[in-house]
């Protein structure tokens, strides 16, 4: 029976002594957990005479929080972990496995612990620690932006430090200019290291750190300059006091005057939780919300500083009918009647409906209902054909392969196929970094020089070959590749074999419908019974997936444009979309849409559709309305309004005090939620709760819509979409001799319409530039930062040369930049171009 105890010692069987057996038995008793005591895994401890049971691995500070006992602390943060450096969370461990005065964040909760947070020794230590932290702190709370939400203020009060005893001189520091987003006031620093842990460890920034020693510790860059990380704004949230505050929000509002609410970021498809804050009829800032399934505790700078589109001075706030201002009701009536008139005169399919990835899910459903009531099959939810097909393919194919950002953070192998997270969904890059920090590996297969805040292997391949790689990986047949490509792919195959939680990431821009199809197929082929391979695809907007679920077998927008050109479609209803500039070929769209008899536009921004519409209805921005979005993993999330729309007081008062007159109504308050307008148009006078219930009744696949609330992790929809109709096989781009091949890409800044309308972000937009491989630049005799002339069939424009070694050699890349000469460079597809050195005259 005890065969396993037979050991050999120096070639002879080892004789177990009585003493040995006793030790083994004792160790067995100590380490083994009898089944009736399995609940030991959930340690039960007593804090301030209250018992609490917490999961294994929880620290005592968290356990106390479970009981609503707040222990003062600075350096501990749930996402950053404990380091025990601020010494503020001292608690007295009265009885149990650990005894004495200990830092609560550094002690794991264990069974039988008896802890006191009110012990006189602990309280005295905390009081001294906070007094030390306050020694050099300036006397400037009235002019500090953190005032009202300052953790140092709260902890000083909680720590019991009331009267300053130190009468000596205080240390002072020199501030740095950290760029357009972050304002530094170093004198306020209490050296908790949270900014460095956020910026360097969590976000992977390299240009911000800590200098000096003892009371000369300075946080900052080596030299003045803008912070390089696209997640730099997170240090504003992380700083417990007013050292790092938001520059665009500087001196605007105190927290107690700010109207805040839980919202969802409208800038990409990831659906990160945000907390916008507004006052005086303008959105003034956005803070990261907490959703453990998506963004965790942080957001990217695009989400944080991209709120200003709601306050844009040119935002249309008045309903218009044939260029004349009218009431919203009159415009709604006209829209309904004119659309019905054209439908009855020319047949139902003469009216096309174009939804948008940035309208709420409720409005998207109502647009679907309007199209259905009209009898039209011309219903599209995305003007860009490739992005539309990608979203619809994903909604049809994504099953068990679906992964959330949280699951990505736990992944051990991440492969990016034609996905540039910093451009298409920045928070995904942060999630990938966490995967790497947890021991995961990253491989990027992309023609673009995909920058990530972590180490990654990069294989530049032309866009049309991405599907080829996916198919080859799925079938495990790499013979078609050249030797240098094959070596990386072979190691990838080996890694895929052993990976437990691999995730494939794609981007709608480069993959399109067929690429997403290949991505999902590869993931299915690579999945086994032991482990499933996940898929995440970045789509165009916050509700791309929701629109794709509703698209059915409808056409794509390019075929709608053909129908407009032919004259079969005579009216177009645009819900928060701009077909003139968002279609894959804007020149073709503008030519075709000139034939329209009726253009109806619902929008919150002054895009071309809104400007040219025969009937225009102003809608509310995301932070001004309640609604929901379906993110790129099918997660349905609700958001709530923060302020009501209106011309900001900053504008009505022209920077001075508000006008000294009385108004019956708020100026510029006409915009209504997109779903409310459509519900009114369809004669469904409903509130949001009733609307969601009626949607659930009419569309049983969206069950759960009426139960969602904001500030939760959301509900993952199980509904599946339909595959888009078969795509005409496009001929591969045949490069003509002497011409270069140009690929339009989504840039990190300046390529997103809403973000472009936000002044804090617009200030960081680059001059038009092209991206080249250094070798190609050398062949063309062009140097970095030199001015050049780019000629395409759109005409020519002046650009600045940028080079990057990681990108594919043969391509020239240009970012789409709104309101510049590169506005028409919509990602998707390749062009011929010429690039010449600018002749100095």
């Amino acid at each position: 029976m005890f065969q396993f105890l037979r050991l050999e010692y120096k070639g002879l069987p080892y004789r177990w002594t009585q003493h040995d057996k006793r030790i083994v038995f004792y160790v067995f008793l100590r380490v083994s957990v009898p089944p009736w005591r399995i609940d030991l895994k959930m340690p039960k401890l007593t804090i301030d005479n209250l018992e609490v049971t917490v999961p294994d691995g929880t620290n005592v500070l968290e356990a106390a929080r479970e009981l609503d006992i707040v222990i003062p602390h600075f350096c501990y943060h749930e996402a950053l972990g404990s380091v025990g450096s601020c010494r503020l969370c001292a608690m007295m461990f009265v009885d149990g496995p650990v005894k004495g005065l200990q830092m609560a964040c550094m002690v794991q909760a264990q069974d039988g612990m008896v802890v006191s947070s009110t012990d006189p020794d602990a309280m005295e230590l905390r009081e001294h620690v906070i007094e030390w932290a306050m020694t050099n702190h300036p006397h400037d709370c009235p002019v500090c932006d953190e005032g009202g939400e300052c953790q140092l203020q709260e902890m000083t009060v909680a720590g019991g430090h009331g009267v300053r005893r130190y009468r000596g001189k205080k240390c002072t520091f020199t501030n740095q200019d950290l760029g357009p987003f972050v304002q530094q006031e170093m004198n306020r620093c209490i050296t908790c290291y949270r900014c460095v842990r956020t910026y360097r460890d969590y976000c992977g920034g390299t240009d911000y750190g800590v200098f000096g020693s003892r009371n000369r510790i300075q946080y900052g860059r080596f030299q003045d300059g803008a912070l390089e990380s696209p997640f730099s704004g997170n240090i504003i949230d992380a700083c417990p006091t007013g050292v790092l505050t938001s520059k665009p929000f500087r001196f605007k509002t105190r927290l107690w005057d700010l109207q805040e609410g839980p919202s969802i970021c409208p800038h990409c498809s990831l659906g990160c939780a945000t907390i916008p804050g507004g006052r005086y009829r303008e959105i003034q800032r956005v803070k990261a919300g907490i959703n453990r399934e998506t963004n965790g505790f942080f957001i990217c700078d695009r989400g944080r500083f991209g709120y200003d589109h709601a306050n844009h001075p040119e935002r249309p706030r008045q309903a218009r009918l044939d260029g004349q201002p009218v009431t919203v009701d009159a415009a709604l009536l006209a829209a309904r009647e004119q659309v019905a008139a054209i439908a009855s005169k020319h047949g139902p399919d003469s009216v096309a409906f174009l939804g948008s990835p940035r309208s709420s899910f409720e409005a998207s459903v109502l647009l679907h209902d309007w199209a259905k009531a009209t009898g039209s099959l011309q219903l599209v939810y995305e003007a860009h054909q490739g992005r539309d097909r990608a979203a619809r393919t994903l909604a049809a194919r994504l099953g068990k392969q679906v992964r959330s950002q949280e699951e990505l953070r736990q992944s051990d192998l991440v492969i990016l196929f034609g996905a540039d997270p910093l451009a298409e969904g920045p928070m995904l890059a942060l999630a990938i970094r966490q995967a790497v920090r947890n021991g995961g590996k990253v491989v990027v297969i992309d023609p673009r020089p995909v920058a990530l805040p972590c180490v990654a292997k990069h294989l530049p391949l032309p866009p049309e070959r991405l599907s080829e790689v996916l198919m080859a990986l799925g079938k495990n047949d790499l013979n078609a590749f050249e030797a240098d490509e094959r070596s990386l792919l072979e190691s990838l195959v080996e890694q895929l074999k052993v990976a437990q939680r691999p995730v494939l990431i794609g981007g709608a821009d480069l993959l399109g419908g067929q690429g997403v199809q290949a991505l999902c197929s590869a993931a299915e082929q690579l999945s086994s019974e032991q482990r499933s391979v996940g898929v995440i695809t970045m789509l165009a907007g916050p509700n791309s997936y929701g629109g794709a679920l509703l698209s059915g077998h409808g056409p794509d927008f390019d075929s709608v444009l053909d129908a407009v050109q032919e004259g079969t479609v005579r009216a177009l209803v645009c819900l928060e979309s701009d077909p003139f500039r968002e279609a894959r070929d804007p020149a073709r769209a503008q030519a075709a849409l000139g034939h329209l008899e009726l253009l109806v536009s619902f929008d919150s921004t002054a895009n071309l559709a809104a400007q040219r519409a025969d009937i225009f209805l102003p809608t509310r921005a995301n932070a001004e309305m309640a609604g929901s979005y379906v993110n790129n993993e099918g997660r349905l999330q609700a958001f709530l309004p923060v302020i009501d729309p209106g011309v900001p007081i900053r504008e009505t008062g022209a920077g001075n005090h508000p006008p000294r007159e009385f108004f019956q109504t708020t100026p510029g308050s006409a915009p209504e939620a997109d779903w409310l307008l459509l519900a009114g148009l369809l004669d469904r006078k409903l509130n949001l709760v009733e609307l969601r219930e009626s949607i659930e009744r009419d569309h049983p696949q969206f069950a759960g819509l009426s139960s969602i609330t904001a500030e939760t992790t959301g509900v993952r929809l199980t509904a599946r979409g339909d595959l888009p109709p078969a795509e005409e096989q496009e001929l591969p781009h045949a490069a003509t001799a002497e011409a270069l091949t140009l690929m339009a890409i989504t840039g990190q800044v300046g390529s997103r319409w809403l973000a472009h309308l936000s002044s804090p972000l617009a200030a960081t937009e680059p001059q038009p530039y092209v991206l080249l491989h250094p070798e190609l630049a050398a062949e063309l005799n062009l140097a970095t930062d030199e001015r050049a002339r780019l000629t395409t069939h759109f005409g020519h424009c002046h650009v600045i040369i940028r080079t990057d070694e990681k990108m594919l050699k043969g391509l020239v890349m240009v970012p789409q930049l709104w309101d510049t000469a590169l506005e028409g460079m919509v990602p998707g597809g390749l062009l011929d171009c010429r690039l010449e050195k600018e002749v100095q005259r």
Binding site: V143, G147, C171, F173, N187, R254
Partner: protein, 176 residues
């Protein structure tokens, strides 16, 4: 002896009244005649200036937070030298209850109550006063305090130039 007590009780009040006929009256004939309230009387609110003539208000919003009737509103802004000030500051005296909590909350001694109690007006808009109406040329009750001399973030003086500060440290120095 009840009768004696009753007679006394009837006549004494008349006697007292008669006595007041020959005393100086306490009633003031307002508005012809005006009374001087004590210096700490809480009436019209003013914004005072530093001894050097600059505005004291830093638009910290504490007065508007303390105000129980929400009659104060303002917007903070930043001057070229980093000074925080109120780009506009409005008190609605039609709403004000003269409780003085704003003056009590003010960390810079900017907002102060004065004994000027004659504010009434038939036009409500005239009771909504802006910064130019509120700002006075003087320090009010505290003639010495200048907040930025003590704030410790280098606006009134150079960084580290206040009395209770060391000069800015050099974090890159190698001295231990």
């Amino acid at each position: 002896m009840n009768l004696w007590r009753d007679i006394k009780g009837t006549l004494q009040p008349f006697w007292i009244t008669l006595g007041y006929l020959f005393k100086k009256p306490v009633t003031i004939q307002y508005p012809e005649e005006k009374r001087t309230p004590p210096p700490r009387y809480r009436a019209r609110i003013v914004l005072t200036r530093n001894p050097d003539g600059t505005e004291r208000c830093v638009a910290c919003q504490l007065c508007s937070a303390a105000c129980p009737v929400d009659c104060i509103s303002m917007q903070a802004a930043e001057d070229d030298d980093g000074r925080r000030y109120a780009s506009w500051f409005r008190i609605n005296f039609a709403r004000c209850i003269f409780c003085g909590l704003c003056a009590e909350a003010c960390p810079t001694m900017a907002i102060q109550t004065t004994p000027d109690y004659e504010i009434c007006n038939r036009d409500v808009l005239k009771l909504v006063q802006e910064k130019e109406d509120l700002l006075i040329d003087g320090c009010g009750k505290d003639t010495e305090y200048n907040y930025y001399e003590h704030s410790g973030i280098g606006v009134a003086n150079e960084r580290g130039g206040n009395e209770d500060e060391y000069g800015p440290v050099d974090p890159k120095a190698l001295v231990p």
